[in-house]
């Protein structure tokens, strides 16, 4: 690990001022310290924000929930309101990492976790995300875990998390405070970026920006499912995951929100897929059309070609479960 200065932030103003001066926030640290040991990340100064007052889950005026950025994954998944009203979020968090990691990992930090692309982690290899302009070895290398949607010639890495996939289906907003003390709210779909020509930038955060909370809208009365497919039964990243929120009224799909993990540089959402489902009666043909729409632009790079038919099957399976049409629909 490269040497660094350590400072504990006294309050949010202190934290954002230090970050505006190129320091790096540390909260749970479970991903950052791993990357620092490998010297993939080499911050010159860490600002410890763990003792800031951002660890509460509270009700919002409109009936939603405000999850403080320092609420741990464990506390978020176990919160009674989230378990009963936003079960897709509890399920997604519990599908990720291990009990020990969820006890440290925070809501804000989880949003900022980096890709698990093998080449990003290996400093002996070129990687446009780690070293802009150096090239991408994953394009023609080992790319089993890589993106099939929204990738670029510069980067085919995926966003690895589960929590943010559920939050994307839930239309969450990210609350961000900057070093001037201004607070803005960003829809989670706009928070993570596609790689395009600048894969070194995972998300929209600028110098001095601090995530202070994630805000969930009021709960909807709908079936909520988180389905994750991975190489092990537990403690593994998603090859494909789907957060689905589906409401049926009189045999027709009234509401459909679908977000996908393990497929792209960000939690993936495609409104054309949802529009195709809304107002329709569930059927195998309809679900097949939804999968066609989702995967129309999908591209495999060799080892990850299997993700295209896998995603198709997982989507159809989730839609059958969510609409309770069973295997024969």
């Amino acid at each position: 690990m490269k040497p660094f200065d350590y400072a504990r932030a006294t309050d949010r103003t202190d934290a954002t001022a230090q970050a505006a001066n190129n320091a790096t926030f540390i909260a749970g640290g479970t991903n950052l310290l791993d990357l620092m040991k490998l010297e993939v990340m080499t911050p010159y100064r860490l600002v410890d924000i763990n003792r800031l007052d951002l660890s509460e889950i509270s009700a919002t005026d409109d009936g939603g929930l405000r999850i403080g950025a320092l609420v741990t994954n464990s506390d978020c998944a176990a919160d009674k309101r989230i378990r009963s009203d936003y079960p897709v979020l509890s399920r997604a968090i519990l599908a990720g990492a291990s009990g020990q990691l969820r006890n440290k990992a925070t809501t804000g930090g989880n949003l900022c976790q980096r890709t698990r692309c093998y080449y990003f982690y290996d400093t002996a290899m070129p990687c446009n995300k780690r070293e802009p302009g150096s090239g991408c070895q994953a394009l023609e290398g080992f790319n089993r875990i890589h993106a099939i949607l929204g990738a670029s010639e510069a980067c085919i890495a995926t966003y690895p998390g589960d929590m943010a996939v559920a939050m994307t289906a839930l239309d969450a907003q990210i609350e961000i405070e900057n070093s001037a003390g201004d607070i803005r709210h960003v829809p989670i779909q706009e928070f993570h970026l596609l790689p395009d020509d600048h894969p070194e930038k995972d998300n929209i955060l600028g110098a001095g920006d601090l995530i202070t909370a994630v805000i969930l809208p009021p709960p909807v009365d709908a079936k909520q499912i988180y389905q994750k497919v991975r190489d092990r039964a537990s403690y593994a990243f998603a090859l494909c995951s789907i957060a689905a929120i589906i409401k049926m009224v009189d045999g027709k799909i009234e509401k459909a929100a679908l977000a996908f993990g393990g497929l792209a540089h960000k939690p993936w959402r495609d409104e054309a897929v949802e529009d195709l489902l809304i107002g329709q009666s569930p059927s195998s043909q309809l679900f097949g059309q939804a999968a066609d729409q989702l995967l129309a632009e999908a591209k495999g790079y060799g080892s990850n070609d299997f993700k295209i038919p896998l995603t198709r099957r997982v989507l159809i399976s989730v839609l059958k479960e969510a609409t309770q049409t069973g295997a024969d629909a």
Partner: protein, 169 residues
């Protein structure tokens, strides 16, 4: 150098160490508490699991200086050879190890995990999120997936934990 107070197994320690020192290295190399083991040093194996402020964590993935004033329980604080905890006795009874290297992490992890289950925390395999079932084999395996055993003593580890959880509930 960072000045940090760690309260380990009820005893206060003043630590003067580089900011890069992990909690794991502080316990082993600075305080001489070598019961906590270093396996992968990347949060994948769970051998370094300790209990900080009543929560099990990977001590390799946190800096000692981030824990000023925190209460930490290591394997040395859970039991001694002549005074084993119920869980430790169950590991002996069920032969929940071969080489023993992962065992301190398994014991610290399971000790805290049993408390998590008592508090009603669900897991990935809980059918009902709002009232998870008691700790059966499937629940124990899922909740302990952050602790690897290179000797694959898993069936006996699960049996030991199930017995200890039953004794305490």
């Amino acid at each position: 150098m960072e000045s940090t107070e760690l309260v380990v197994n009820g005893k206060s320690h003043k630590l003067e160490a580089d900011s890069r020192v992990t909690l794991l290295d502080a316990l082993r190399n600075h305080l001489g508490l070598t019961g906590t083991k270093k396996g992968c040093d990347h949060g994948q194996c769970g051998a370094c699991t300790v209990i900080v402020e009543n929560r099990r964590i990977n001590s390799c993935l946190t800096l000692a200086c981030m824990h000023d004033g925190d209460e930490i329980t290591t394997i040395e604080g859970i039991g001694q050879p002549d005074n084993l905890s119920a869980l430790q006795s169950a590991f002996v009874e069920h032969d929940g190890f071969q080489c023993g290297y992962c065992t301190p992490g398994q014991i610290c992890s399971a000790t805290a995990m049993i408390e998590e289950a008592k508090a009603g925390w669900p897991s990935f395999v809980s059918e009902d999120l709002e009232s998870p079932k008691n700790l059966g084999n499937e629940e124990i395996s899922e909740r302990m997936s952050g602790n690897l055993c290179r000797c694959a003593a898993y069936p006996n580890i699960v049996n030991a934990i199930r017995q200890a959880a039953g004794e305490q509930s």
